[in-house]
Amino acid sequence: MFSKNPYIHLILSPQHLWRSMSLGAKSIWLHKLRSLLTALGVVFGVASVVAMLAIGEGASHEAQEQIRKLGSQNIILESVKPTDSSGPVGQSRSFVIEYGLNSKDIKQILQTIPGISIVVPSRIISEVLWVEEKNLEASIIGALTIYPQMRNRTLAAGRFFNDLEQDNRSPVCVINQSAASRLFPLSTPTGKTIRVRGTYYRVIGVIEDEGQRATTESVSQGNSKSGGNGSLAQMIIPFATLMDNFGDTFFRFRSGSFDAEKVEFHEAIIRVGKVEDVVSSAAAVKHLLSRNHPREDYRVTVPIELLRQAERTKRIFSIVLGSIAAISLLVGGIGIMNIMLASVTERTREIGIRRALGAKQSDIVLQFLIETVLLAGAGGVLGVIMGLGIPLAISHFAGVTTVIKAWAPALAFSVSVFTGIAFGIYPAMRAAKMNPVEALRHE
């Protein structure tokens, strides 16, 4: 007779759940300050989850963006000025410092290492660009026509130089956006001319900026002087034109003294046919270079290795982040449990009344569980709001990229609800297990 309740399904009907929830909300509202303080642990836990996920995603997004620009099939070789700038052994006190990659290296790489589809060397020098009275210190890159494809760079306006211009050693150039905006702030750059050391170059295109990475060390020094914000100013001209006009020795006056560097190639990009071969080819290249260059005057960058490294870093970051979030949610959960236990004791008589009026143990469990989940969930909502605000503030004030994925707030919120359930079960069970007679007698 008693076990067949025709209304049993109604206890869990939306209408009844809604009533239980509004009841729970009421008793939370009854103790506003207490509830707020209790939920605070969860608020901070959830906020830190959301914020750190956003920062982590931002960092990894930035890394991936950079790597995408460098090209995952590429191996990038750079010439680096050796730390002891005294010149090669045996060549005493020459004032011309000779270092870096040369055509012999390039030839050997092409001949001995299989699977390499192309090697594109380039030279980079630091010079002052003139447009009428305006000047700007920029790096001038001598490159081949396939440079934009190799570096995954797109043109914003105009075109890149072609094979004909390259073969004719034409005085044409492509400048990047930051150079364009500083040299031609009010007009379109294409068709204008730029003067460098007495030679005029016609601007035929504008290329998009390259992200944060400095191309070589010497150039980043040059840039720090020009003090521009954002990307470095760049001017790209045909490789042959650069060799004609600037030779292979680069002179520079620096704080009264004079030094000269002789570098054949500042940079070379090796494209490997298959992505799987990149790591092994890179190892071979490193081995070859280490034989040719007893001094460490080069640097090998393998974007795909950077990607792996970025993933590793992200994983470590995730573990750290996860532990911090777990600890704060644990603390928050314990706080909630503590208050709920106190609340159960405080409301012993109410529990007794409800039991006397026909509430089953499960009804009592549900009531307290709903209350805990509402409390934790409200904390979760506040935490998500706060957690969305923190990355925005960080991006705004610190200039760090943050990426908020849609799943991050959802995950953080569900974690808060889960915390509510996990830490609410015990107090709710305790409430339900009370003896109705004793509960009714409780003062």
């Binding site: 025709p6 399904h9 009841l23 006397a356 026909g358 009804d363």
Partner: protein, 243 residues
Amino acid sequence: MADPIIELRDIRKTYRMGDLESHVLQGISLSIHPGEYVCMMGPSGCGKSTMLNVLGCLDQPTSGQYFLGGFDVSKLNDDDLSQARCRNLGFIFQSYNLIQQLSVIENIQLPLYYKGVPEHESRAIAENLAEQVGLSHRLYHKPNELSGGQQQRVAIARALSNDPLVILADEATGNLDSKSGNEILNIFDELNRAGKTMVFVTHDERMVQRCTRVIRLRDGLLDKDEPGANANRTAVFEATMQH
């Protein structure tokens, strides 16, 4: 005679505290029929509270059988006992025991909520009962905004909301002044006249004057079982039942 609503067969209740056993109820057998208005009396410690807890399905007897509405409830598990309370019993307490966060109407609806009655139905029932006890104008007040007599009237409405077989009360007039006590007693009279079966634990002599049966307990045993001042009312009620 109609079948009894409550039938107790040799109910015993023993509490064990360490090595000490205290036999609170020592074999009580009695029947209560529809329409009876029973006052249960006795000196403190006679077991009448325990008796009320057993009758109210809040506590299980150690041995013996308890038939409520014809079904043995003495061996039910916790969930089924809750259901038995929910569907067959109405409680009225000395200290009203209303839930403070809930409004008058919500308090009256509470047993229906646990019974699973849909909101619109339970609301209609509760409004109707509030009117009967004269509290239609106080539906959205909180219990602490009401006087003692008003609170007890809410409790009565609540006890009636699930249309129980029996109303159980523990010193229902104990906290009230004589005027509001009388008002409450009048309501009980009306309910009994309408055929409600009621079992009240009381010390109130006025109640004895109005009831149909007085049961006196002493040391966990039935001491006296005698007709009350209105005993003939039950007879009249039973006569109408048989037609």
